[in-house]
Amino acid sequence: MLSIDDLHVGIDGKPILKGINLDVRAGEVHAIMGPNGSGKSTLSSVIAGNETYEIDKGNIMFKGENIIDLAPEERAHKGIFLSFQYPVEIPGISVTNFIKTSINSNLKARGKDEMPANKMLKKIREKAELLDIDSKFLSRSLNEGFSGGEKKRNEIFQMAMLEPSLSILDETDSGLDIDALKIVANGVNKLRNKANAVVVITHYQRLLDYIVPDYVHVMHDGKIVKSGNKELAHELEEKGYDWIKS
């Protein structure tokens, strides 16, 4: 589904990613771990198409197509979803209104009709229940005055609504207490199927107890320095990041 080949990325001439190779197939869950500043969040932003970064070299293939020159919204239309580490606030626009606009924009781009209001409402109710979201929450302005946990839950709610092929969860566990973490992880697990894939970016092993990865990659200084199965995450937890740095 996703195939990254020798990706080099920088900002203001300063290299951040220095040759990333990654293959994610449908049905798989990959975890990307690493210390602060190793380039994890940059990688997720670049896959989503954030234009603040300069691509110096390499390709990103998605469903067999090179997406390196596509705008962020075009990538979204193809089924890429990024759960933001720091979701932005949009005052005056309710969660419901935002997700409705998002879903219909995607449908339109795929040459389909807008979702009828009753169907939309039903789906919103269903997914809100899945993530234990109160209906009052849905009429609040997007992320405005949300707690850290509410913001993250809202990201996963949007993921549930959009049903993307590839979901990248950037530090979704940060700012969540253990109960919220379980709810979010449970939500993600329920959305998993053979046709979609998830990339979990995290600093800690904790989340991986709930969203169990098929593969774990460790990033350091803009490169993937180690790959393995879920055992690698435990090993990392025991030995600390200094282990891979040396």
């Binding site: 979204a76 979803f81 606030e89 949009i90 005056g92 626009i93 606009t101």
Partner: protein, 481 residues
């Protein structure tokens, strides 16, 4: 019987062109320049009574002694008032045989606004076969309104048919000498609307459709007078969401509202005059004086969505004369490219326990300048006056400007005045977030702007609000490169 706009629309669809009346006046324009003879001639053409002619002449004499105000935060080349023609009979605007001949850009905009083909033709100045004509609409309206004793007609008709009312109230809220433009308007006003709601009557419909259709022929110097008698209510809408390709450069309107004891007037405006092109060439100068007078327990609300004009100079105000009266001002002002707007309000608290609310949302893009200017005045007798003001500015790009000029004069120490202001910028991170959810940049901006303007959009009548939202989107198109 309540008569709704929906019913009216249906009626018009099925109705034959019953009132075979066409204002087929030859395009007749006076020579440029202004003097007493021109004013007498205007008055004569309009078959006005002598007192009106004298009133106009008096205004002209005042105007001659006045000079153009230059305190506002706008820069423009001052019009040469001797190079303007002050009388232009409503030209027959049918310049085209079919819509195919009309500027496709204009039609695209009409489509985006969801304006019907018939109305598109009307607004673009195409000869219309099945006429939804302002005359017949007005007439249909009038019949319904007449049952309630509501008078709703052009100011020219009112001068002839209801001279006592006009005489009593015209110039009573905006005196001729109030300012340079009000004096000019008083001397040369072309036409406008008159509305009187009798005691205790609630006007059963939003007075809107009439204006949207009538807009195509609106004059350069509009004069509006709305009188709500004791305990009455009216919601009044002026303007047009459709872009108006008016060639008149100078527009100087005067609007006067009078809310007698316990009456309420809601006055909503959507202004979308030609803003000039992308390089700041052309466009309308919009110098408007709007003011309302509240008697005891009366309430006046101004709501405005200002997106057009090259230069806007406009301060819809409330004089809270009666005890317990309420004034409200809700405004969205959008400037793009080289547009300049200096707009706001004045809340003059004279009575006891008077209350006012000001919510102003300014959106600047391109190289435009957007200023809020507002006065809250509490006079020595206005015990327990309350005001709340909120002025928010949204900037797009880094070449535009937002300015706030609040003036507060409190002369009674029981007054409570609150002022909040904020300035924000549409962030790249907000746009990227929307993009990532599949929403393109233009739509993302529209979403953010609508969220920002929501408090004011909510004050507009439902149907108007939807159009106003679309208008905001269109006004800001291409503002992010």
């Amino acid at each position: 019987m309540a008569y709704t706009e929906e019913e009216l629309k249906k009626e018009l669809e099925t109705q034959e062109y019953e009132y075979g009346f066409v204002t087929d006046i030859d395009s007749e324009t006076f020579e440029q320049g202004l003097n007493e003879n021109v004013i007498k001639e205007i008055s004569k053409r309009k078959e006005e009574p002598e007192w009106m002619t004298d009133w106009r002449l008096q205004a002209y004499r005042n105007w001659k002694k006045m000079s153009e105000p230059d305190w506002s935060n706008v820069k423009y080349e001052k019009p040469d008032f001797q190079k303007i023609s002050y009388y232009s009979a409503p030209k027959s605007k049918d310049k085209y045989e079919s819509l195919d001949e009309v500027d496709p850009e204009l039609l695209k905009t009409f489509d985006k606004l969801g304006i019907s083909i018939d109305e598109q033709k009307k607004l673009a100045g195409v000869a219309v076969d099945v006429v939804v004509d302002s005359v017949s609409v007005a007439t249909t309206f009038k019949a319904t309104l007449a049952e309630k004793g509501i008078i709703f007609c052009s100011i020219s008709e009112a001068i002839k048919d209801y001279p006592e009312l006009v005489k009593k109230y015209i110039g009573s809220v905006v005196p001729q000498k109030d300012n340079f433009y009000s004096a000019l308007n008083s001397a040369v006003f072309s036409d406008g609307s008159f509305c009187y709601i009798p005691k205790g009557v609630r006007c059963p419909m939003e007075l809107s459709t009439y204006f949207r259709i009538n807009q195509a022929g609106t004059g350069q110097f509009e004069r509006t007078l709305v009188i709500a008698d004791k305990g009455s209510y009216v919601s009044y809408l002026e303007g047009c969401t459709a872009p108006s390709r008016d060639e008149n450069q100078l527009h100087a309107a005067v609007v006067e509202l009078i809310a007698l004891d316990n009456a309420e007037i809601k006055y909503s405006t959507v202004q979308n005059w030609f803003p000039g092109n992308k390089n700041g060439k052309g466009g309308v100068f919009n110098f408007v004086t709007k003011r309302g007078l509240c008697h005891t327990n009366a309430k006046i609300s101004w709501t405005q969505v200002e997106t057009g004009s090259a230069v806007t100079w406009k301060y819809p105000s409330c004089i809270l004369k009666g005890d317990n009266s309420i004034g409200e001002f809700y405004s969205i002002a959008v400037t793009n490219n080289y547009q300049q707007a200096d707009t706001g309000t004045k809340m003059i608290h004279l009575g006891k326990n008077t209350k006012s609310t000001i919510i102003s949302k300014g959106i600047s893009a391109g190289k435009s300048q957007n200023s809020y200017r507002g006065l809250v005045h509490v006079s020595p007798n206005a015990k327990n006056a309350r005001n709340f003001s909120q002025c928010d500015s949204l900037l797009m790009g880094n070449k535009c400007g937002a300015h706030t000029f609040p003036y507060i004069e409190a002369k009674n120490n029981t007054a409570m005045i609150e002022h909040e202001a904020s300035t924000s910028k549409i962030g790249e991170d907000q746009i990227f977030y929307c993009n990532q959810r599949g929403i393109d940049t233009e739509k993302a901006i529209a979403l953010i702007v609508n969220g920002f303007s929501k408090e004011v959009l909510n004050k507009l009548p439902m149907e108007f609000a939807v159009e106003a939202q679309k208008l905001l989107e269109i006004s800001l198109e291409g503002s992010v490169g």
